[in-house]
């Protein structure tokens, strides 16, 4: 819910399918959409996209003209919303510890069946347990 993931997820709220198990076996990859506890408010969960994994050098803010680069420390992730102009993400609270992750988003359960199907296929093609 909220405008931060706008092109992918609705502003008024979507029902999503999250996978809480694969985090025990594999580390999140770049491009995954994850559910994560907000570092600023312990009771609040946020939905963001993983942009940097540990030891990456990440562009701090793509929307600015001057590009600064930061290194992601061990055990942290650089998260970012898809809607960069209206998003509270790692630009405000820095790299996020992996211990705050609660799940990986598999699919959006919405009325548009094509979108649901597309996201599901993309997930299973990138899934570490897939057989193909």
């Amino acid at each position: 819910m909220g405008p931060s993931m706008l092109p992918t997820f609705n502003m008024t709220g979507d029902i999503i399918l999250a996978d809480h198990i694969s985090g025990y076996f594999s580390e999140p990859e770049i491009g995954d959409v994850v559910v994560c506890i907000s570092p600023h408010a312990p009771g609040r969960a946020v939905l963001k996209r993983v942009v940097g994994t540990p030891r990456d050098s990440v562009c701090f803010d793509v929307t600015e003209k001057e590009r600064k680069y930061v290194n992601v420390p061990d055990g942290h992730l650089w998260l970012s919303g898809d809607n960069m102009s209206n998003s509270n993400d790692s630009r405000t609270y820095g790299p996020v510890p992996m211990g705050l992750l609660r799940g990986r988003v598999v699919a959006r359960v919405s009325k548009e069946k094509k979108v649901f199907f597309d996201i599901l296929v993309t997930y299973f093609l990138s899934c570490p347990f897939s057989f193909w």
């Binding site: 559910v35 570092p39 600023h40 408010a41 312990p42 609270y93 996020v96």
Partner: protein, 184 residues
């Protein structure tokens, strides 16, 4: 006689099934309520593991239920997921909460603890990887509160909550936001 008939005839079947039905209850309490745990390492000396002998480990009682409210006091001993390695659990003492300003253990530099974060340190300053190294940690990384020492029996008793280190910590306050308890 088939296997079910033999089971029904056995006098042990019913008591065994009754005992088995308690397994999920026990698992739930261990996972969400209270559970014993072993403490490794010497970062909490002299409160935990006072012997530097590697064979002797303290067993403590963790309270996971009261950690779910995310409200803690300064001086409590807590168990949290290490921010630098998500597979590791570390035991530290909360020094400062959100809004406070802490002076680093070495040097005079002051650090502000932002909203939703806390400052954790080990009691043994020289052998502890704590907030002096990785900075303030998010409060939701804390999984449980260490309440009692169970083993060894000679030191059985509650873990004491230290007061505020007034020389290093300047208290602050951040008013709660209406957005804080918003879930998904």
């Amino acid at each position: 006689m088939g296997i079910f008939g033999r089971l029904r005839a056995s006098p042990y079947t019913i008591p065994t099934l009754k005992a088995l039905s308690w397994v999920p209850v026990v698992l739930f309490v261990l996972e969400n309520g209270v559970s014993p745990s072993k403490v490794e390492g010497r970062s909490m000396q002299p409160t935990l593991n006072p012997d530097s002998n590697q064979m002797k480990r303290d067993i403590v009682l963790l309270n996971k239920w009261s950690a779910t409210s995310h409200s803690f006091q300064r001086g409590q001993v807590v168990v949290l997921t290490s921010p630098t390695n998500p597979k590791r659990q570390i035991t530290k003492r909360i020094i400062a909460l959100q809004g406070d300003t802490v002076k680093l253990r070495q040097g005079t530099e002051k650090v502000y603890v932002p909203k939703g974060h806390c400052w954790v340190e080990g009691d043994e300053g020289f052998h502890s990887n704590d907030s002096n190294l990785f900075g303030p940690v998010p409060i939701s990384l804390i999984s449980s509160i260490v309440t009692h020492v169970i083993w060894p029996p000679s030191r059985f008793g509650p873990v004491e909550v230290n007061g505020i280190e007034s020389k290093r910590v300047t208290l602050g306050f951040i008013p709660p936001d209406s957005d804080d308890d918003y879930c998904w």
